[in-house]
C-alpha cells in the first residue's frame, strides 16, 4: 500500500535556528498519525512544509505521492487542513464561507449544504460567523477542510479551546473520517486525545523525532508500570512493578493476606513524553 505521507531527513532552518532537524517517518493511507511536542518543537513548521506553505531547507517528502517542493500544485487538490486558529471570514455566513472554498476547489455549491449538515450547522448556515461560538467555528473549520474530499487531512490542535462536549463530537468526527479512508495527520497537546485517536504517534522535541510507535507500544516500552494496592488497614500504596523491592513488598503483603485490592496501571503517553522529552506538554 502506498504511503500517504513519506518524509526523509526533512529540515527547516530559520537562520541559525533548526526548527525541524532531519525528521523521517511515513504515514499509511487511512492512518491517523499524531505529531506531539512542546510549543516550538517544530510541529507547525512540519505541517507548513507538508502542505506546501514553506520550502524545506533539506530533505525530501511526498504527500499523496507528490513531491512537496516540485509538485506543490498537484498536492493542493488532494489535501486540506484544519488550522489552530479559527481563520474564517467572520463577516460572511457559515454557508458563504463554505461556498467560497467550494468554488475555489471547483466543487459544486451543494457541497456546502452537505457539509453543514455533516457538522450540524445547518440551522446556523445563514448566520454571520462572528456570531458563532468557539465550538461552532471549529466545526465550520472542519467542514471547510472537507470541502474537496481530501485524501490527507492535516489537523493542527483541532480541539484546543473547545468545551468537553464539542471536543468529544470532533473526536467522533475524526474517527468517522478515518473509518471512511481519510488519512489524518494530527498535532495536539492533549495526550488522551492522541491516545484515543491515533494509530501511531511521533514525539517531536527540538525539531527531532525522539519516539515513534503506536500509543500502546510506547506506553509499554517507555511507560512506568505501576499498581495501586489497598490494604486491610485502608492504607493505599503505589508500587512500581519494575522495581524488585516493590515487587517483593507486594509479594509479602499477598502472602500475609493483607491485600484488599490491586489496580494495575500502565504508563500514560504523558509519562512517556516526560521520560523522553524531559518535561510535560
Amino acid at each position: 500500500m502506498t504511503n500517504a505521507v513519506e518524509v526523509n531527513g526533512l529540515e527547516k532552518h530559520y537562520g541559525e535556528v533548526r526548527a525541524v532537524d532531519g525528521i523521517s517517518f511515513s504515514v499509511a493511507e487511512g492512518e491517523v498519525f499524531g505529531l506531539l511536542g512542546h510549543n516550538g518543537a517544530g510541529k507547525t513548521t512540519t505541517i507548513r512544509m507538508l502542505t506546501g506553505r514553506a520550502r524545506p531547507t533539506a530533505g525530501t517528502a511526498t504527500v499523496a505521492g507528490y513531491d512537496i517542493v516540485h509538485q506543490r500544485d498537484r498536492i493542493k487538490p488532494v489535501i486540506n487542513a484544519v488550522f489552530e486558529d479559527p481563520n474564517l471570514y467572520e463577516r460572511f455566513s457559515g454557508r458563504d464561507n463554505l461556498t467560497l472554498f467550494a468554488e475555489l476547489y471547483g466543487a459544486p455549491a451543494s457541497r456546502a449544504d452537505e457539509l453543514l449538515e455533516t457538522v450540524g450547522l445547518t440551522a446556523a448556515a445563514k448566520r454571520k460567523v462572528k456570531t458563532y461560538s468557539s465550538g461552532m467555528k471549529q466545526r465550520l473549520l472542519v467542514a471547510r477542510a472537507l470541502v474537496n474530499k481530501p485524501r490527507v487531512l492535516f489537523m493542527d490542535e483541532p480541539t484546543r479551546g473547545l468545551d468537553p462536549t464539542s471536543a468529544r463530537e470532533l473526536r467522533a468526527l475524526v474517527s468517522r473520517l478515518s473509518d471512511e479512508g481519510t488519512t489524518i495527520f494530527l498535532t495536539t497537546h492533549y495526550m488522551e486525545e492522541a491516545d484515543e485517536l491515533c494509530d501511531r504517534v511521533a514525539f517531536l522535541s527540538q525539531g527531532r523525532i525522539v519516539a515513534l510507535d503506536t500509543p500502546r507500544e510506547l506506553k509499554l516500552k517507555q511507560g512506568e508500570r505501576r499498581a495501586t494496592v489497598l490494604l486491610q488497614d485502608r492504607t493505599e500504596h503505589s508500587l512500581r512493578l519494575d522495581d524488585p523491592a516493590d515487587a517483593a513488598k507486594l509479594d509479602q503483603w499477598m502472602r500475609d493476606g493483607l491485600v484488599l485490592t490491586v489496580h494495575s496501571q500502565e504508563g500514560t503517553l504523558e509519562d512517556v513524553f516526560v521520560a523522553l522529552a524531559g518535561r510535560a506538554l
Partner: protein, 365 residues
C-alpha cells in the same frame, strides 16, 4: 501558475467583503464626499448665455464678427435668432424670449465700408443684462473692423518668468471647481490603493485566512485578485465621482489612460505596504503619514511652488498622473511634456511590481 477561476472567485469575495469593512468603506466615501463639497463650494465657471434676435441682412459681416467673438472668448454661449423685422424683435425682447435684439439696416456692410454712418438699432429690456453689453461691444468692434479703422492704441502683452512651475496658470485655465475635483479624484486613487487594498491584504494575513487560501491558491493569485479589486474600486468610484460632479472629460482616452496607469502604480505601492504591516489597524493608523507625500503633490500641481519642490513633485506618480488627467479633462494640453508624465508613471509601475515579484520569490523560497 495563475488560474483565472481562483482569481475570479477571490475577486468576487473581496469586492463584497471590502464594502463590509468599515475602514475600506471610509476610504472610498471620504474623497467622494469631498469632491461633492468642492463641486458645491466652487460654482460652475462663469459662462453666461446670450439669446439674441436680429433683423436685417442675415449674412452681414457684423453678425459673423459677433459669432466669432463668442466662439473664441469662451465666456459667452451665444444663441442667435434671425427675425423678419424690428417689431418682431421688440416683441421677443418684451416677452423675454431673447435677452437683447438688434436691427441692421439694408446694405449696412457696404454703407460702413463707404464711410457712411448707418444706424444700428439695439433693443434691450429696461434692466440690461450682460448679454446687452456683449452685443453692444460686439457691434462696435464689428463696425470699426468694417470701416477699416485702426484701434486708438496697440496693447502689447509681455510674459515675465516669475520662477516656479511653468504650469502655474493651470488652475486658472481649468477653474477651481474642475481643479479641486480632479485633485480629489487623485486623492481617492491614493486612498483606495494605499489604504483599502493594503487593509484587505493585511487582514488576510492577520486573521490567517491567507493560510487557508494558500492551501488551494498561490500568493501570486491572492495578490493579483487584490490588485484587480483595487482597479475595480477605482473604476467605479471615479465614474461615480464624475457623475455626481457632472464633470465630463473632453479627452476620455487620455483621462482613462492617466487614471489607469496611476492607479496601477499606486496599487503596487499599496500591495508592498500591505506586506509590511502585521495588522489592518496598523495600516489604518499609519495611513495619514503614508498618504501625505502621495496626495499632497496632486493638490500642488498647477500652483506656484518653489523650483526645487516642483522638480521633486515631478518625480512622484500622483503629480504626473494629475498632469495627464488634467489634459484629459480639459481636452487640451494644459501641461506640456506629457510623454515625461507617462514615462515617470510607467517607471513607478515597473519599480513597484518588480519589487513585488522579488518579495514574492523570497516568500516562495
Amino acid at each position: 501558475m495563475i488560474r483565472p477561476r481562483i482569481i475570479a472567485t477571490l475577486f468576487r469575495k473581496d469586492i463584497v467583503d471590502g464594502l463590509r469593512e468599515s475602514r475600506v468603506l471610509i476610504s472610498l466615501l471620504t474623497p467622494i464626499i469631498l469632491a461633492v463639497l468642492y463641486n458645491t463650494l466652487f460654482p460652475e465657471d462663469k459662462v453666461f448665455e446670450a439669446k439674441v434676435a436680429y433683423a436685417g441682412p442675415e449674412n452681414s459681416a457684423i453678425v459673423q464678427t459677433m459669432v466669432t467673438r463668442a466662439a473664441t472668448g469662451q465666456s459667452v454661449h451665444l444663441t442667435l435668432r434671425h427675425v423678419g423685422d424690428a417689431n418682431e424683435a421688440r416683441g421677443l425682447v418684451a416677452s423675454k424670449e431673447v435677452d437683447v435684439a438688434f436691427v441692421l439696416p439694408e446694405g449696412v456692410d457696404e454703407a460702413i465700408k463707404a464711410g457712411r454712418t448707418p444706424s444700428i438699432g439695439l433693443i434691450e429690456p429696461e434692466v440690461a443684462s450682460s448679454a446687452s453689453s456683449f452685443v453692444e461691444s460686439s457691434l462696435q468692434i464689428a463696425a470699426r473692423t468694417l470701416a477699416d479703422q485702426k484701434p486708438p492704441a496697440t496693447i502689447v502683452t509681455e510674459s515675465v518668468k516669475t520662477g516656479g512651475s511653468a504650469d502655474q496658470g493651470v488652475m486658472g485655465q481649468m477653474g477651481p471647481r474642475k481643479y479641486f475635483v480632479l485633485a480629489t479624484i487623485v486623492m481617492m486613487l491614493g486612498m483606495i490603493s494605499m489604504l483599502a487594498v493594503p487593509i484587505m491584504l493585511t487582514e488576510e494575513s492577520e486573521k490567517k485566512t491567507l493560510d487557508a487560501l494558500l492551501l488551494v491558491g498561490s500568493y501570486l493569485e491572492v495578490i493579483v485578485s487584490k490588485a484587480l479589486v483595487g482597479l475595480a474600486y477605482v473604476g467605479l468610484s471615479v465614474a461615480l465621482m464624475l457623475a455626481l460632479t457632472r464633470l465630463r472629460p473632453e479627452d476620455m482616452a487620455t483621462f482613462v489612460a492617466g487614471t489607469g496607469i496611476l492607479a496601477l502604480a499606486l496599487i503596487g505601492i499599496g500591495l508592498l505596504i500591505g506586506g509590511l504591516f502585521r495588522s489592518a489597524q496598523q495600516v489604518y493608523s499609519w495611513s495619514s503619514l503614508m498618504l501625505l507625500p502621495v496626495i499632497g503633490p496632486a493638490f500642488a500641481v498647477g500652483l506656484p511652488v518653489p523650483d526645487a519642490l516642483d522638480k521633486l513633485f515631478k518625480a512622484l506618480p500622483t503629480s504626473q498622473g494629475m498632469r495627464i488627467m488634467a489634459n484629459g479633462l480639459a481636452g487640451k494640453p494644459l501641461f506640456a511634456d506629457v510623454w515625461l508624465s507617462y514615462a515617470v508613471l510607467l517607471g513607478w509601475v515597473a519599480a513597484m511590481y518588480g519589487l513585488l515579484a522579488w518579495r514574492l520569490s523570497r516568500r516562495e523560497s
